[in-house]
């Protein structure tokens, strides 16, 4: 069942077509991923869903109600973790949480209970009385997330919540997302880290230059480049004879070399190893190791756009 539907959504800033006609839906209970490089239009999309920007055109419905016409339909049900820290730096973590809890209508003992729970979830109990400006980047991010969780939203949108933080905080955040999802929260997660999206999301839309260029489950997306595999071969040495011989093998589409390493891009290469080993044996090179890489979203993105997700 679709909780959120986005239909032919556009947002133009003067000439900049930040979002240019995207369509997707988010099902109740899933973690939906929005993957795209810098400037793809992820944050702009999220701003429209969270009623911050009015779309230039297009529709967004939450539970069947248009949120453009009726922002109230989504506001109380929605938690948003903005890409950048949106907190009062001179107030303490606790004061910030209190204020944002109030903003969502929580009061008194209920609010206190929620703050206690949430600080457990985001793992930041002992520093709650310190001012935000004294926190590390990772701690600020955690409070930034916590502030969006107090009112137990049905839908949580997280806009690149792990940018610029230490690996420990990052893992904590990723695990938190999974735990919240297990408890029944629907989550939209945007990132330009494909590993995160692969790890978390059941369904994914890939965005580039304001448009969605592919959508589906991870398997469906990878299917786009079906059969394509990357094979890393380490050898004792690599020369031109070897390269030209390897290129003659059926299904090998591309050969790249880095010093004594060869990366083959193959199509439908189930039976390639026999050829690979026998052909190499004809040369003076010896194989040290073979590593087969499964196709990933990075490869899908590369395949679709001809560029990498990150520079």
């Amino acid at each position: 069942m679709s909780l959120l539907k986005v239909n032919n959504l556009k947002k133009y800033f003067k000439e900049v077509k930040a979002v240019n006609g995207i369509t997707f839906d988010v099902k109740k209970g899933e973690v939906f991923g929005l993957l795209g490089p810098n400037g793809a239009g992820k944050s702009t999309t999220i701003s429209m869903i969270s009623t911050l920007f009015n779309p230039t055109s297009g529709e967004i419905t939450y539970n069947g109600e248009s949120i453009v016409e009726k922002p109230k339909a989504i506001q109380q049900k929605l938690g948003v973790v903005p890409q950048e820290i949106a907190l009062y730096p001179t107030l303490s973590g606790l004061e910030n949480l209190k204020f944002w809890g109030h903003a969502y209508g929580l009061r008194g003992s209920e609010l206190n209970k929620r703050i206690e729970d949430i600080s457990q979830v985001i793992g930041i109990k002992d520093r709650l009385k310190d001012k935000i400006e004294k926190y590390s980047g990772g701690m600020k991010r955690r409070i930034n997330i916590g502030a969006a969780l107090l009112h137990k939203p049905d839908l949580l949108i997280m806009d690149e919540p792990t940018v610029g933080i230490d690996p420990q905080s990052r893992n904590h955040i990723l695990d938190t997302v999974l735990k919240l999802n297990e408890e029944g929260m629907t989550i939209i997660y945007t990132s330009h880290y494909m590993e995160e999206v692969e790890y978390l999301c059941s369904r994914i839309s890939i965005m580039d230059m304001g448009e969605i260029i592919a959508s589906g489950t991870q398997e469906e997306l990878v299917d786009i480049i079906k059969g394509q595999k990357k094979i890393n071969i380490k050898l004792d040495h690599v020369d031109d004879t070897l390269i030209s011989i390897i290129k003659t093998i059926e299904y090998v589409e591309k050969v790249e070399t880095h010093e004594n390493e060869m990366i083959l891009t193959t199509q439908n290469g189930e039976n390639i190893f026999k050829d690979l080993i026998s052909k190499t044996a004809e040369t003076e090179s010896n194989i040290l190791s073979i590593d087969i890489k499964k196709p990933n979203l990075e490869a899908v993105f590369l395949h679709l756009t001809g560029k990498a997700l990150r520079d």
Binding site: F53, P82, L87, Y88
Partner: protein, 461 residues
């Protein structure tokens, strides 16, 4: 209520900023204390120390001017048609009058040596050169010059005939001592004005008499009438004295500065308020509130009441501190409360207007320039930096129509014992400004057009 949480939060944000707190609350307290102590000597109850020292210079010639007054009928057409007997009567009358009424005594003994006046004023009669020297050495605060014809004019003014001459008392002030100068001017004005009142009474009396066709000399010859003019003179004296008893409680330095600093620093509160909206926008908390469904109007109302509460707090702190620690008497507490409310109302409006302008301009540089220039101008016109008297004439009345100027005058006025009628124009001015500022703020925020300037992410990548 949501709005209380917003105000509560905004106040907390404002109060956690040590710099702001220092500037807006601690600074005026320190300045008042220092300035008051340095310029005042007001802590002592010793009347001698407290009294303002002045020099009085007599430029008139008493005997000559008295004679000149006696010549008065000879040069006046009113008396041209009098017969010998009548002239004789007039002469006797004038002799009686000038024997009874002594302008010099009235000014010195009746006015300056009055017990209440002595508490705040110490004078010595000097020649002009010597007086100027003392003024230069800061030994006296002012020189009061009783000009040529002072005696003659006083006689004419108080003599029961429909004539009235300007008294034209001159004052030379020590520019270093603004407050004292003001007090002296006030005192001298009150002398001239009070004389004026009784003189107007006199003139009216005669005009009525003439209108009703009563022969002038019959009037002046009548014992009864003569008696009644002695009474007028007596009353005039009493009036001057009374006026000084309850009106001219002088403002001490500390009192003056307590008010002046309050009026100035609440302006800074408005200036600080200018950043409130922009800061929210910058912190992205504005966007977050919008996402939480808090409407822009509520955010703006929050700012309004934040500035309101902060200004109120500022004024209360100043009043409490200056009353309890410095011994300042602000006057009737209900009137002070009323002025405080009206002032706070106009400052909150001003601050919100600035906030909406800065929000709209969208960057700190502009906001900074804008609010600091405006605040500077207001402080200047309102007499917070230099006495209003030094400014060009056309600006004097301007200060009544800016919040700090009107507040300053209203508080001073109540300190001097004025009543609600006298401060009403200031109160109305304050309320009016509050309304105008608020309307402008609402207008600006409305034309801002939806939430198009709100960004949740910075455009940078």
């Amino acid at each position: 209520m949501r709005v209380f949480n917003i105000i509560f939060k905004d106040l907390k944000v404002l109060l956690t900023d040590k710099k702001t707190l220092g500037l807006l609350i601690i600074m005026p307290i320190i300045l008042t204390t220092i300035l008051g102590a340095a310029l005042g000597g007001t802590f002592s109850s010793d009347s001698d120390k407290r009294a303002i020292k002045i020099a009085v210079v007599k430029e008139y010639d008493f005997a000559y001017e008295k004679d000149k007054f006696m010549e008065f009928p000879n040069n006046n057409f009113l008396f041209q048609n009098m017969n010998q007997e009548q002239l004789k009567g007039l002469e006797t009358y004038m002799e009686n009058f000038s024997g009874e009424f002594n302008p010099e005594e009235m000014f010195f003994d009746g006015f300056l040596d009055n017990n209440d006046m002595k508490k705040m004023l110490q004078y010595q009669v000097l020649d002009l050169e010597k007086a100027k020297e003392l003024l230069r050495n800061n030994e006296i605060s002012s020189i009061v010059i009783l000009p040529e014809d002072f005696i003659y004019n006083m006689y004419v003014n108080f003599f029961p005939l429909p004539y009235r001459n300007e008294l034209d008392i001159k004052i030379i002030n020590n520019p270093d001592n603004y407050i004292h100068s003001q007090i002296i001017e006030g005192i001298m004005n009150s002398f001239a004005e009070t004389s004026d009142i009784s003189i107007i009474g006199k003139v009216t009396y005669f005009e009525t008499g003439i209108d009703e066709g009563i022969d002038m000399m019959t009037l002046s010859n009548s014992e009864e009438i003569i008696q009644s003019f002695y009474t007028i003179i007596e009353e005039a004296k009493v009036q001057i004295e009374e006026e000084n008893v309850d009106k001219q409680k002088p403002l001490s330095s500390i009192e003056y500065y307590a008010v002046a600093m309050t009026a100035m620093f609440i302006l800074f509160a408005a200036g600080e308020g200018a950043y409130l909206l922009l800061e929210e926008k910058d912190n992205l908390t504005y966007a977050r509130m919008t996402v939480a469904g808090i409407p822009k109007s509520l955010i703006a109302i929050g700012k309004y009441f934040t500035i309101f509460s902060f200004t109120l707090m500022q004024i209360l702190v100043m009043i409490l501190y200056s009353t309890l620690v410095l011994g300042v008497d602000w006057g009737d507490k209900w009137l002070v409360a009323l002025i405080t409310l009206c002032t706070t109302f106009s400052i909150a409006g001003l601050g919100t207007m600035l906030a909406s302008m800065c929000y709209k301009s969208g960057n700190y540089k502009m906001a900074n320039a804008f609010s600091s220039i405006l605040i500077f101008l207001l402080a200047l016109i309102g007499g917070s930096y230099i006495p209003i008297e030094v400014l060009p004439k056309f600006m004097h009345n301007l200060s009544n129509f800016i919040p700090n100027g009107a507040a300053l005058k209203a508080y001073n006025s109540v300190m001097l014992g004025d009543n609600i009628i006298q401060i009403l124009p200031f109160l109305l001015s304050l309320i009016g400004m509050g309304v105008v500022f608020t309307i402008i703020a609402v207008y600006i925020l409305n034309t801002e057009g939806g939430i198009k300037n709100v960004k949740y992410n910075s455009a940078k990548t």
